[in-house]
Structures are given as C-alpha cells and as structure tokens.
C-alpha cells in the first residue's frame, strides 16, 4: 500500500520537519539573543537603570547612546572603547566612592580623558568590547591592564623628567641609579654615575684576601627568616649597593686571589709626625678623643655606625659613604691614613671630601677607627686561603669578566664585556610570551615576571647571571614601576611629540672656586642650579640669601640652623683662603635677581617697624610654631636667632612675599602679607643677632633620628 506508506512517511517527515524547523529557529534565535546579552549592552542597560534612579538623570543621560562609544585618536594609535561601559567617566557627580564601577567618574587628573583616551595610561586592549578581553591577557592580546599599584609607570613613558606627583616612579628611578643597574643593563633616562662600584685597581693595598672572600660570599647583607635585612649584623632599611652573587667555593677562592694581587699603583704612605705619636700613643684617652673628633667632624653625615640604645642596636648615620662599624678590621691601617689625607688621590671619582687634617687629628681618628670600630670575629669561619696561586688568579680574572664584576668595577687595563645584561629599554612593552618563566609557578604576566626576577633571578631563569638583591615591598614596587615605564621609543610621531625630556642639569664652575668646590665635594650634599645632592640646603641663590661674612664664618665653623638635624655639614678645617674663595663666588655668582642684596637699604628699618614686626611674628602670624627664637619655638624651619647676622634684608623681603619663587619646593607657606607687614617683619628679623660661638664638644651619643629631607 503505497498510499498508506506515503501517508506514514509524510507524517514522520512532517514530524522531523517540524522538529528540525523548531531547532533551526532556535539556532537562529541564538544569534540575536547572544547579541542582546553582550556584556557591553548589559552595561549600557544597567547604566540606564542606574541613571534613572538618580536625581540628576537628565544630566547623566544627556549624551547617552545605546551603541558602542569610542575615543579615536589616530595620531596616538588610540581606539578606546572603554567609555562604552565606563559611561560616567566625565560625570563630576559620579565621583563618590559609593557609585559602583564601571560607572564611577575618573578622579581629577591633569589629563582630559577625551584628549588622551584610556589605554595610553591604563594599557589593556582599547578596541575590545568584552570585559575580559579589554582588561586581561588573552591568546591574541598580551598587554593587560596595568595594576593600579604601578600606574605611575605610564606617566613615566612620556614624562622622562621627574614629577612631584609620581613619587613611586621617581623612587624607582632613583633606586635603579643608586644600585648601578646601568652597569649591566641599558636603561634610558637613568643617570650613569661617574663611578659604578669602587675602582678596584689597587684593592690589594686596601683589604686582605680573607676579607674579600667574606665580602664576596656575603656582602654584609644577611636576610633572616623573617626577611629582615641586616648589614654587618645590624638591621637597616637601606639596600647595600653590592648585591649577593651566588659563588661557589672555587669561585670565591679564585676571585679573592685575583683581587688580592691588584696592587698596580701603590699608595704613598704618610708618616704621622713622630712627636704627635709620642705625645699620644700612651694616652689612655686616645681612642675616646679620636671618637670625639670623629663626631665633631660629622663623619656620620655620610657614614653610619651601629649604635646600641636601650638594648636595641641599629645603624645611625648617612648612607652616602659605606657603613663603618667594623671598618677597623677591614682596611690596612697605612691605607686608612693615606686615604683620609687624600681620598681623591686613591679614587678620583670618590664623593669623599678632602679634609684639612692636622697630624694630631689624623692620628687620633685613625687610632679610634683601628681600635674601636673593629670586630675580632669578622673573619672567623673563613678557610685558610694562603698565598694566591697562579691558577686561582687566572680563574679569578676570567670570572671577574664573566660574572659581570667588570661591568661595575674598574680595574685599569681590563675591558668589560659590552652590553653585559639584557637591554631593558623596552621591557615595559614586552608580551608575556617573550619572557622566560621556566618552571616557576607565578602567573604569566609581565608584572609578576619582573617582581619574581628582581626578588630571585634564578626563580625564572636557573642560569641567571643577575645577582641577588633584597628588597622591601615598597622598593620592589617602585623599581617595578620604573621598569614598566620603559616602553622604548614612542610608537607614533604624535606620541613622540608628547615626551617631556629630562632636563640635563649641570653645574660647571670655573677658576679657583671650581678647585675648592671639587676638593670639598660640595655637590655631594648641596644643589647648585639643580645639580647635586639633596641632603643639605640648595645653594643656587646662597649669595642672595646669606651675608658674605656669615658664609665665611659658617664655612670655618659650621653650625646647624635646625635643632633637629643630625646630618650636618662636616667640619673641614677649612683655611681662610678656601673660605674666602667660596664666599666670594657665592656672593658674586649664586644670585637670584628677585633678591638683590644691594637693592634694599638696611637703614630704612626703624625701631618702631621692628616693634610692629615682633608683634606680627608673635601674635598675628605666630611664626614661632615653626621657627625658634631664643629658647622657644618650633623645629620645622631654621632657627632665627641670628637672622640679622645671617640673612640679607632683600632675601627676607622677597621670601616673605613668595617663598616658592625663590626655592620652589620649600614648605614655608606663602602668605598674603601687606607691603607694610613685609617691611615690619624684615625690620624685626634684622634686629636678631647672635654671634657664632666656636663649637663646643658635641654630644657623644648621636640622636636617634636621621634628618634626610629636613634641610628644607
């Protein structure tokens, strides 16, 4: 029965047809459904609901469109669709923390979102319209969004000059410079110091082979199980510049052998006057007198010592020079005498000034160092090394080059390998697939890679030549930020034009001033026209600020103007001639046109003006909250006991009107004094005088505090 069969078949076919049609329809419906459910559309709709629930709906929805929004900046290679979901970014009323992401307004920043886009700073995939693709690493995109913690890295990709707004980036760049990372890596924009590590041409004349063995094995730094870094057994927060190299016993022997024979230029030994030695050598006070002199000369401004106070031992003092707690067990006593007399003769690039030593002082201080700053256990546990064998020396020579020692330390006649470590100038732009993770368990992204490599280079590369540093978390993050900022040359010419270059600062004095300035290494602590250290006051306008006679007196006998400062100007034992050379140059050259000492006549100030000024100082403006006069007042600003003998009236007037115009980063608040008030305050300050007395015995115990940064 074909008809029945047909009918049966028809029914079955119908059924199949019906089912497949329904299925087919369902399949067709998937596409519009998926489209409807797309993440960005969901965010669009929820923004709509969110805005409608707020009082300012109209304003929030003024430029609302239901489709994809994008910021297109062809010159900068920016196609950012982030604002499709982050719809409230420019709405000032949505800045409250209670507003949920992604609708919250962007915090106020110096750049306008519409002019810059988002990915220039935040990175990530601009054209993406899915949350994961925009923010994270995918198979096709490996530049995920930058964790907020490291966001300052993006400022650094264009701003090569340091900015006050990016302290973490600045700190990271400073650390890269301080630790001499430039020795092995190409790091554009990081200052190359005049000298990386100490010059080792004559190291054999300075320290013993056993000491070198110990140093190479454990360069002062130890980390206990809690991660505390100690230097010579004392806790510190400073990362010593010399990192730890993972050296085997053979390597330690070879390197110490090689270094101990570096004695090409013998230093000229200095013989201290025998009469001084005869007078002092039997004196039981010798070491304590030496210690007193050591303190009076403010060696601690640059060098730290371990000090025990209330059962707690810590390092106190500056970090410009090495820590000296055990230096007496380190250096050859004859070398020490020669070094202190003329440091620049041994190391031309040293930052150590040349003091005008008397034989007596030199004897006392070196005896103090040799007898008190010692540790008889320093070299225990070091195996018997004996005379260096030729074989060891040769191996040491090879290792010195292969381990990268030569990249930081000069030995005359030895040529280091060029480009020893990888070029890091575009590290911040690297994809995760370009990095070596080896067997490490860390997440495969650039930030984790950089942090793992910095903390333990062998964790991502067992064969790494990079030595071991010990970071605290904030330094690690700072260095990571600085490295992430290095994205190489800007991709487009429009971006190239946005680069804010570093200012090349230099200060090239001439004539007799230059010679004295160089001998006392003034720029180690003081800034001159933007060049130099920041431990001590900026001297760019010292000739406008201070009276010439005061400068001379101060140089001869430095006194601190700030009661809380511990790090002070060292006592150089400066000759009259040197002091006059420096003071004359400052008075002539280091001037600010806004404060010309010749332009203000001190005779115009009457006692009546001064009386009014005193009133203003003490009652209306209460300057004593920060400045000390007599025995009372605050510690924030310099004491003004001798303001009349120290400052020029022109400077005081200009300063009171606008302190930041003279020293941009001073913390003295700018007030709105009237012209009469400025005159009255100046008149009062000019009446304050106090002669500088010769320095009395300094306190034996240095204060707990360190005073970096307080010099402003």
């Amino acid at each position: 029965m074909p008809a029945e069969d047909m009918g049966k078949l028809t029914n079955r076919t119908r059924l199949i047809f019906a089912v497949s049609s329904v299925l087919f329809l369902a399949v067709l419906a998937i596409s519009p459904f998926k489209d409807f459910r797309r993440e960005w559309k969901q965010y669009k709709r929820s923004y709509l609901r969110f805005a409608q629930g707020r009082p300012d709906t109209k304003k929030l929805l003024a430029d609302f469109r239901p489709d994809i929004d994008q910021i297109w900046l062809p010159g900068m290679n920016v196609v950012d669709r982030c604002t499709t979901c982050h719809q409230g970014i420019t709405q000032t009323t949505l800045s409250d923390n209670a507003v949920p992401h992604p609708f919250r307004a962007h915090p106020p920043i110096p750049h306008n979102v519409r002019d810059w886009g988002c990915t220039v700073c935040h990175r990530g995939q601009g054209p993406a319209t899915e949350v994961a693709e925009a923010h994270e690493s995918t198979l096709a995109w490996e530049q995920p969004i930058l964790p907020t913690r490291f966001l300052q890295a993006s400022c650094g990709t264009c701003h090569y000059a340091d900015m006050p707004q990016t302290p973490q980036l600045t700190r990271g760049r400073q650390i890269l410079a301080e630790l001499n990372c430039q020795g092995c890596h190409r790091l554009p924009g990081i200052d190359r110091p005049a000298m990386f590590g100490p010059d080792l041409t004559n190291i054999g004349t300075k320290v013993s082979r056993a000491w070198m063995y110990k140093w190479l094995k454990e360069p002062r730094t130890m980390v206990d199980k809690d991660g505390n870094v100690t230097v010579n057994g004392y806790e510190t927060e400073e990362e010593p510049r010399m990192p730890k190299f993972r050296l085997t016993e053979t390597e330690l022997r070879a390197l110490s052998a090689y270094l101990s024979v570096q004695k090409t230029k013998a230093f000229a030994p200095y013989k201290i006057d025998p009469r001084v030695v005869a007078a002092w050598s039997k004196n039981p006070e010798l070491a304590s007198q030496g210690e007193l002199r050591f303190r009076q000369m403010f060696c601690s401004t640059c060098h730290s010592l371990a000090v025990t106070r209330a059962g707690e031992t810590k390092l106190i003092g500056g970090d410009i020079g090495p820590e000296l707690t055990k230096v007496g067990s380190k250096v050859n006593p004859d070398w020490l005498v020669a070094w202190l007399r003329d440091p620049q003769g041994y190391l031309p690039h040293t930052r150590m000034p040349r003091y005008g030593w008397s034989d007596e002082d030199l004897y006392k201080v070196t005896q103090y160092i040799n007898t008190k700053l010692t540790d008889s256990d320093l070299l225990t546990g070091i195996p018997e090394l004996g005379q260096p064998a030729d074989q060891e020396i040769q191996l040491g020579h090879r290792l010195f080059l292969e381990k990268g020692c030569a990249s930081c330390h000069v030995i005359e006649g030895l040529n280091p390998q060029k480009d020893f470590g990888p070029d890091l100038s575009a590290l911040g732009a690297k994809n995760a697939s370009e990095l070596e993770f080896s067997k490490s368990n860390i997440p495969h992204n650039l930030v984790s890679y950089i942090q793992a490599k910095l903390q333990d280079p062998t964790s991502v590369n067992p064969a790494a030549r990079m030595p071991q540093y010990n970071w605290n978390q904030s330094d690690l993050d700072a260095v990571t930020t600085a490295l992430l900022s290095m994205k190489g040359a800007p991709a487009t010419s429009a971006l190239q034009n946005l680069v804010v270059p570093r200012k090349d600062v230099a200060f090239h004095p001439t004539g007799s001033f230059a010679e004295v300035y160089d001998r006392y290494k003034c720029s180690t602590c003081h800034k001159f026209n933007g060049y130099g250290g920041d431990l001590a006051p900026d001297l760019s306008y010292e000739g406008s600020r201070a009276q010439r006679q005061w400068i001379v007196d101060f140089l001869k006998n430095p006194q601190t103007l700030r009661p809380t400062l511990v790090l002070r100007m060292p006592q150089f034992n400066m000759s009259d001639k040197d002091a006059a050379t420096l003071a004359d140059y400052m008075a002539m050259v280091l001037q600010n046109t806004a404060a010309n000492p010749a332009a203000v006549d001190a005779k115009q100030f009457t006692p009546a003006m001064a009386a009014l000024g005193k009133q203003l100082y003490e009652v209306k403006y209460q300057c004593q909250s920060c400045h000390t006069i007599g025995g009372t007042g605050g510690y924030v600003g310099p004491n003004l006991n001798n303001a009349g003998g120290w400052l020029t009236p022109a400077w005081v007037e200009a300063w009171l009107k606008n302190p930041q115009s003279l020293i941009p980063d001073t913390i003295e608040p700018r007030r709105s004094f009237t012209e009469d008030e400025v005159k009255a305050l100046t008149a009062y300050l000019m009446t304050l005088r106090q002669s500088i007395k010769p320095q009395k015995t300094a306190k034996l115990a240095p204060s707990e505090a360190t005073a970096q940064g307080a010099s402003r």
């Binding site: 299925l23 087919f24 369902a26 399949v27 998937i30 596409s31 998926k34 969901q42 965010y43 929820s46 969110f50 629930g53 923390n97 209670a98 507003v99 949920p100 609708f103 915090p107 106020p108 899915e130 994961a132 693709e133 994270e136 690493s137 995918t138 198979l139 964790p147 907020t148 913690r149 490291f150 966001l151 707004q165 302290p167 495969h444 930030v447 809380t564 511990v566 009652v619 209306k620 403006y621 209460q622 909250s625 920060c626 007042g633 605050g634 510690y635 924030v636 930041q660 913390i667 608040p669 007030r671 709105s672 204060s703 707990e704 505090a705 360190t706 005073a707 970096q708 940064g709 307080a710």
Partner: protein, 163 residues
C-alpha cells in the same frame, strides 16, 4: 542512520554556537592591594594596610611634604614639631577630633588658616600654596586613615548596583 546524522549535525551546530558564549580569557588574579593606587599603614596598627585611591594618594604625598611636621608624631626627619605647640595640633588620623568636622570646614581651615576659623593661629593658611583640588585630596587622605574610621554623612551606596 541518516536521521541520527542529521540530528547530530544540528546538535553540533547548536553546541558550536553556544560554546562561543563560554569563552573566557585567562584570568590573572591580582593581589587586592595591587588594585590600590597607593597604600598607607594604619598609624595605630602597622599591620593593617589601608588601600588608597588616586585622590587619597595625592593627599598622602602633600601631607608628607607640608603637614606631617605638626600633624604626626614621627616625621621623615625624625622628631615631630607637634610637642612644641600649644594647643597640640590633632594627629591626622585622630578620627574622634576630625571625623565630626565637615569637609567644608576642613577645606576652609586649610585654605584660610586657623585664625580665620576661630582656631589656633599657629595653623598657617595654605590657600596661596595649594590648589583647591590638592586641599581636597589632603582631606580625602585624612578621611582614609581616620581611626575610628570616618563615615561619610548620608552615604547611600547599596542602592546602586552595576548590573
């Protein structure tokens, strides 16, 4: 047989188109503090790390330049000027004193100084030195580190949701 084939083909098509929905990028879990612009250790409990937003971090930077000398017991230079002053300025994290003050009052006293607001003249005016936004950021930082924690007046957060 053919029927099964057809059904399978259909199912496969469906599966193929649905599977696209489940595609997820490789997720990298960031440490919660990585999402903060900066951090500050709680002054009364160093173990407690407070995450700071961009604005609060700007306030922190300005605080440690300008204000720390009198409004903290330890400064980057060591000792603090606070003990020299009568009346003693409040510590910046002193929530008991500062939480009740409105943002507007704080903005005014920093801008105009203590004497303009009936407080000690020892507090100088910063209106010619710091921009209003900078002062706002200092207030934001103050609120972030306050102990006891600062509660924003009339805060209504939970009624909004992102999705």
């Amino acid at each position: 047989m053919r029927r099964y084939f057809r059904t399978n083909a259909l199912l496969l098509t469906i599966l193929a188109s649905v599977s696209g929905c489940g595609k997820r990028a490789e997720t990298v879990k960031a440490h919660p503090l990585l999402r903060a612009y900066d951090t500050e250790a709680d002054w009364s409990d160093a173990q407690h790390i407070i995450p700071l937003s961009y604005q609060q971090a700007q306030g922190k930077r300005i605080f440690y330049q300008q204000c720390v000398w009198c409004h903290a017991d330890a400064t980057p230079a060591g000792p603090s000027n606070r003990s020299n002053l009568t009346p003693a300025p409040p510590l910046l994290n002193d929530g008991a004193t500062l939480n009740p003050e409105s943002d507007e009052f704080m903005q005014n006293i920093i801008t105009l100084g203590g004497s303009a607001m009936g407080k000690s003249a020892m507090m100088p005016p910063y209106g010619r030195m710091l921009a209003p936004d900078e002062i706002r950021s200092v207030i934001a930082f103050t609120r972030a580190i306050a102990q006891p924690p600062y509660q924003q007046p009339g805060r209504h957060g939970s009624q909004y949701s992102a999705k």
